[in-house]
């Protein structure tokens, strides 16, 4: 059965009462979205927390909302739209993803210079090496192998560890805790333990970097704080590094696996790419749009009564801006359900929008470009070792993705 066969099939989960709803297939919005897209602004009940919150689905509505200073990203609001039972640390230990206004910009600035387009392009040769090394590792294994584990997770993890100044022997530690923090299956206790243990680890690392600074982001952020004269604590640093670590591996890993599976399931599109390697950049944009792994990762709270698409949202109400729905807006993306790697539109909301736009977007784009430039050239016989729709998915996770990707060649 192909993806397009399934698009018309009604999923058994369509009647699920609480949000997040399950996707019909990884590249098809949940069945409930059709009605929500019609309304633009809808009220839903969240899983876990049981909160009633608003979802917004319109492309222009979301873009306007996400540049509206009357919305807050702070996790401290009572109605912040968590769709699981969040431990208290999820509200207090957030770094800039959960800050507003000047606190947000001054903290984000400590990391932003590492991730500008110009700085990221300087990493190209090193990322090419990392990708080649991991393809060598994969090819040295006996097929079938779990591509997600061996390649998709390992490549961005290696890159982000180098950037942040985290030793490479800590991959398993961060993968385990990243999965607990962002995954959909974790208990509240597992989420809490993960945040506490990761913070403790980074605190130790901060001590080392204070004595022996390196060329990494953590060392530079400390130097920036010192130079600026701003008051800061280790807490500011470990929360920022944890945010960048999780944002820097789980997301890109999910996108590598989903995008690779998507190309394998759409051989006409893969052939286009193989015949014209210059299509890789537009292919990256299209695959990010098509999967929108952060569909449920753009939460806000209204700081005052606001009117959104004719609906009054009250001060204190939680809001989720659903990027997957917006990225299927036919006004912006003609034939939105069709995968077309030639589309190449960068208008999608796959990296969010506004001041909280993904700080690592240019790094992710470069990693994906290099991965899909090399992968099918080096392993032209790559194929799935399990029917795509039988591969378990991260339902209810903050970042959508696959739990594994068995491949053979």
């Amino acid at each position: 059965m192909t993806i397009s066969d399934l698009e018309s099939a009604a999923p058994a989960e369509a009647e699920a009462a609480t949000f997040p709803y399950k996707r019909t297939c990884p590249f098809t919005p949940p069945a409930q979205y059709a009605d929500m897209i019609e309304k633009d602004v809808s009220e839903v009940t969240l899983d876990g927390s049981g909160l009633r919150i608003w979802t917004v689905t319109g492309y222009e509505t979301i873009r306007t909302l996400l540049t509206d200073p009357r919305l807050s990203a702070s996790r401290r609001h009572d109605n912040f739209p968590f769709y699981f039972v969040a431990p208290p640390e999820y509200r207090t230990e957030t770094s800039f993803i959960g800050y507003d206004g000047a606190a947000h910009s001054s903290t984000r600035r400590k990391a932003a210079l590492t991730f500008t387009h110009r700085q990221v392009q300087r990493l190209r040769p090193r990322i090419e090496e990392i990708v080649d090394e991991h393809l060598d590792k994969l090819l040295a294994m006996e097929a079938p192998a779990d591509f997600h584990r061996v390649f998709s997770l390992a490549v961005p993890m290696t890159v982000i560890c180098e950037l942040l100044g985290i030793p490479q022997d800590q991959h398993e530690f961060f993968i385990k805790h990243g999965t607990a923090l962002l995954g959909g299956h974790s208990s509240t206790e597992e989420r809490q333990a993960a945040i506490v243990e990761v913070n403790a680890y980074i605190s130790e690392l901060i001590k080392q970097k204070k004595e022996e600074p390196g060329e990494d982001l953590l060392s530079r952020a400390m130097a920036d704080y010192e130079a600026s004269g701003e008051e800061y604590t280790d807490r500011d640093l470990f929360n920022m590094v944890r945010l960048l670590m999780n944002g820097g591996h789980e997301t890109t890993a999910s996108q590598i696996s989903l995008g690779t599976a998507c190309l394998l399931e759409n051989p006409d599109q893969l052939e286009l790419l193989l015949n014209d390697p210059s299509l890789v950049k537009p292919a990256v944009e299209e695959l990010v749009r098509f999967a929108t792994i952060g569909d449920t990762a753009v939460p806000r709270v209204a700081l005052e009564d606001i009117e959104v698409a004719g609906q009054v949202i009250r001060k204190g109400d939680g809001i989720l801006c659903l990027g997957l729905a917006a990225n299927r807006d036919p006004e912006v993306f003609p034939e939105p359900e069709k995968l077309d790697i030639r589309r190449g539109s960068r208008k999608h909301l796959g990296f969010g929008h506004g001041v909280h736009h993904c700080i690592g977007a240019d790094l992710a784009r470069l990693e994906l470009e290099i991965v899909w430039s090399k992968l099918f050239q080096r392993i032209p016989t790559l194929r799935l070792a399990k029917p795509f729709l039988e591969i378990p998915r991260k339902e209810g996770a903050v970042i959508y993705g696959l739990w594994e990707l068995p491949v053979t060649w």
């Binding site: 200073p69 991730f115 110009r118 969010g352 929008h353 736009h357």
Partner: protein, 107 residues
């Protein structure tokens, strides 16, 4: 509130009142002024809200930080000494009367 003037490359001008809190970029987007893309929406990342502040400007602008400076090296139209990212120009009454020139292209 500040009156901001956006001058297009063909010489036409659009004048709008922009409210605080907001930015010169948001003022353009809310008023559907062509010539400001702001793909990222205001995080000083994409470089598609590039403007040239008028050479004769005497209004006090916030200092440019190292991130904005770096991003301005990647804009579609070449930067000059008057280049700014309009998302990094917050609206205040002090900016009342600001004139910015829009580049030929943003991406």
């Amino acid at each position: 509130m500040a009156k901001i003037t956006y001058k297009h490359p063909n010489g036409t001008v659009t004048v709008v009142d922009v409210r605080a809190p907001g930015t010169v970029m948001r003022g353009a987007k809310l008023n559907n002024i062509d010539g400001i893309e702001a793909q990222c929406g205001g995080s000083a990342q994409c470089g598609t809200c590039h403007v040239y502040v008028d050479e004769a400007n005497t209004l006090p602008l916030p200092a440019m930080d190292s991130v904005e400076d770096d991003v301005l090296y990647g804009t579609a139209c070449e930067r000059n000494e008057f280049s700014r990212l309009s998302c990094q120009l917050p609206i205040s009454e002090e900016l009342d009367g600001l004139l910015v020139h829009l580049p030929e292209a943003q991406s």
